[in-house]
Symmetry: C2
Subunit: 404 residues, 2 copies
């Protein structure tokens, strides 16, 4: 690969082409701890669901006929089935989810009848049809069918289905281990006061949180000064670890202390691209390190805290979603509330605040959009994506907003 500036789409294709060759391992975990993991097996229904014909309403189970009045002969509630013998003219009070007696074929909702003692009468004009309000056995899913497929992200609704299949242990894809190493002579620990041209090393914090936020495992390697020997050693140590990705920040720009590209090369990492036609985050590097049967993806992000976090959201998160077949519903189309300056042909990811007003999604971006402005970034809730060929989007135009 040359050092030619490539497009965002091209860069993303290259990353996807590499990440799909990772073979994430699987593990078996307790269902109770499985929230937000990706399922790594097709889970089969071990019973019909529901397991028996049951009532969809609180009401009266009857045997359908021309009759419009009945005698209440008993009551069935969930888990308290009694084998009543029900003739035409008999009705049984039944609660939602309770098992239907074999002779009954219809449930009349409680609001459609009037009772007086054991006498039950259908209200005039009530909807009354044979078979109504009965959920038949296996209607939700038949025994032996797939309840939840592999590559499903496990939400509370999926956990409910898995619990119903008796799955107290589930096979899931392991969390990816993603190491984060910051570099830069300007960095000082967060708990110190910066003097001269120093700044606090916030990238380890923000990127580790971003990794945790997508349910993977950050491995915090701290930060290193721009000393070739130190960084060389840190990269070597990282590549020897059992990790899936290495993210570095800093050292990918044009200064004389920007050693990272040289050191990546020296460490045997194959460069796939360097520099993408985007703003912010242009200097991003991407490479692959092959190790036995495993690969480690290496992302060299710029040191700027806004750029590196934007890079995470626009490259790394979508790549991980792609690996796990996830189509995340994480963007909105919103109406721009003012003109936005964009005079170049880069793809921009501007920081914005999206809100809903007067039946429309709207987005403000009255920020300087300087990639130095971390406080502004902290107030944003989305990235406004503006494509390469779009110049100066105007107030009132619809723009794509990626939620962050």
């Amino acid at each position: 690969m040359s050092n030619k500036l490539i497009s965002y789409d091209n860069a993303m294709e290259i990353i996807k082409g590499e990440i799909k060759r990772l073979s994430p391992r699987t593990e078996e975990i307790d269902l109770l701890n499985s929230l937000n993991y990706i399922l790594a097996e097709d889970v089969i229904a071990d019973i019909d669901m529901p397991p028996f014909d049951n009532s969809a309403m609180d009401g009266y189970a009857i045997k359908f006929s021309d009759k419009k009045n009945w005698e209440i002969i008993g009551e069935i509630s969930a888990g308290n089935y009694s084998s009543l013998t029900l003739s035409e003219g008999d009705a049984v009070l039944i609660t939602t989810g309770s098992k239907i007696p074999p002779e009954a074929d219809t449930v009349i909702p409680i609001e459609d009848v009037e009772t007086s003692g054991n006498a039950l009468v259908l209200k005039p004009n009530a909807h009354f049809k044979k078979g109504m309000n009965i959920r038949t056995k296996g209607n939700d899913l038949e025994k032996g069918k797939i309840t939840v497929s592999s590559f499903t992200k496990i939400g509370p609704n999926v956990i409910a289905a898995l619990a119903s299949c008796g799955k107290i242990k589930v096979k899931v894809y392991n969390k990816l281990k993603i190491a984060v190493l910051s570099t830069g002579d300007e960095l000082i620990p967060v708990n110190q006061i910066p003097h001269d041209d120093k700044i606090r090393a916030s990238n380890n914090y923000s990127l580790s949180a971003a990794i945790t936020g997508i349910n993977h495992l950050p491995v915090n390697l701290g930060f290193a000064k721009d000393d070739k020997e130190i960084i060389r050693r840190k990269i070597k140590d990282a590549l020897e670890m059992d990790i899936d990705m290495l993210i570095t920040t800093g050292g990918v720009s044009v200064g004389k202390y920007d050693y990272l590209l040289e050191l990546f090369d020296e460490a045997g990492i194959e460069k796939k691209f360097w520099r993408v036609n985007i703003k912010p985050g242009k200097p991003i590097y991407f490479g692959v390190y092959k190790k036995d049967k495993k690969k480690i993806l290496v992302f060299g992000l710029p040191g700027n805290p806004v750029s590196s976090l934007v890079n995470f959201y626009i490259f790394i998160k979508p790549a991980v979603d792609y690996l796990y077949h996830q189509n995340e519903i994480n963007f909105h189309t919103a109406i721009l509330q003012h003109d936005l300056k964009k005079t170049d042909t880069k793809r921009h990811f501007s920081r914005g605040i999206i809100f809903y007003e007067e039946d429309e999604w709207r987005v403000k971006a009255e920020f300087s959009q300087s990639s130095g402005n971390l406080i502004e970034m902290s107030r944003a809730n989305c990235l406004i994506e503006i494509e390469e060929n779009k110049i100066n989007p105007l107030k009132g135009e619809k723009v794509k907003c990626i939620m962050i």
Copy 2:
């Protein structure tokens, strides 16, 4: 309060009126563990941000004049400031974020110049303006101003800002402790095979996961048979615990074993409403238990696994968001892909699958919409909210979809 069916909006107002009187406690935690907590203090910038004038680009720092060519006299990269004395005609190679020498007032981007040895020439037609590409000290935020306000949800971008302020510990609101107790004679443990009219107790799993998913703390109280004495004891024990909410499932319907309302009353819980004009989840109960200076909110949800989870998303999650001043961006407006049957005047929350196609959000709901259908629910990614007065929404209409 009477037992009159109330509207969804009315129910939500009642819940909000009660939840806002809770006074959640605060704690100080490590910044590294603070993701998704709600900040409980205004954090003040202890330094100007950025702390010094710096370059917004990789480029050359110069003193602006009519000149279009310069001599490169040195280089400054981030963290390696050297106090060069710069005259008109001198240029210093400078990387993004690096401190600007005092005499320089302008940075020319690297792509706008040509170099030959130490000679630097501005490219014809390059944009060239005094003061360009310099981020001035304090431009992002001045020392003493609020960096991040109380009630901000802590995302990775907020963590970056807090780290930049040297906050390695932050004051946050405690996670709410939310106990979950399922009731019902039909329930058996998840690891058993159901026979007759039994079903697996999935509600503790799904509701605990839903509570974890909104970053609060589930307290799993398991499940109890419909035995008055057992449930009475379980409720008493729960109310004696240090919890903020109690969620029960089952026992709020019309059967003879539906003891919960009676037992809530007996335990001294003040009923605020019972039964809301919605589908599914109509039998929901809401009450408040006063204990010393504290309140426990009590939600009695129906036993049906779909209904109870829908109740969680439409009542409990919005209530918690309200307590913490969160305006969650968690819905889309989407085009209905087919007619939907709705003949009553309840508010419906139908299970749907939202997707993006041909530049539009679209939603399918080709499900039976029976509240018994947990497998269908597990495949949904949203709830389609259809208001009371809307009858039979048609294919092509826009509907509100709450992401789950």
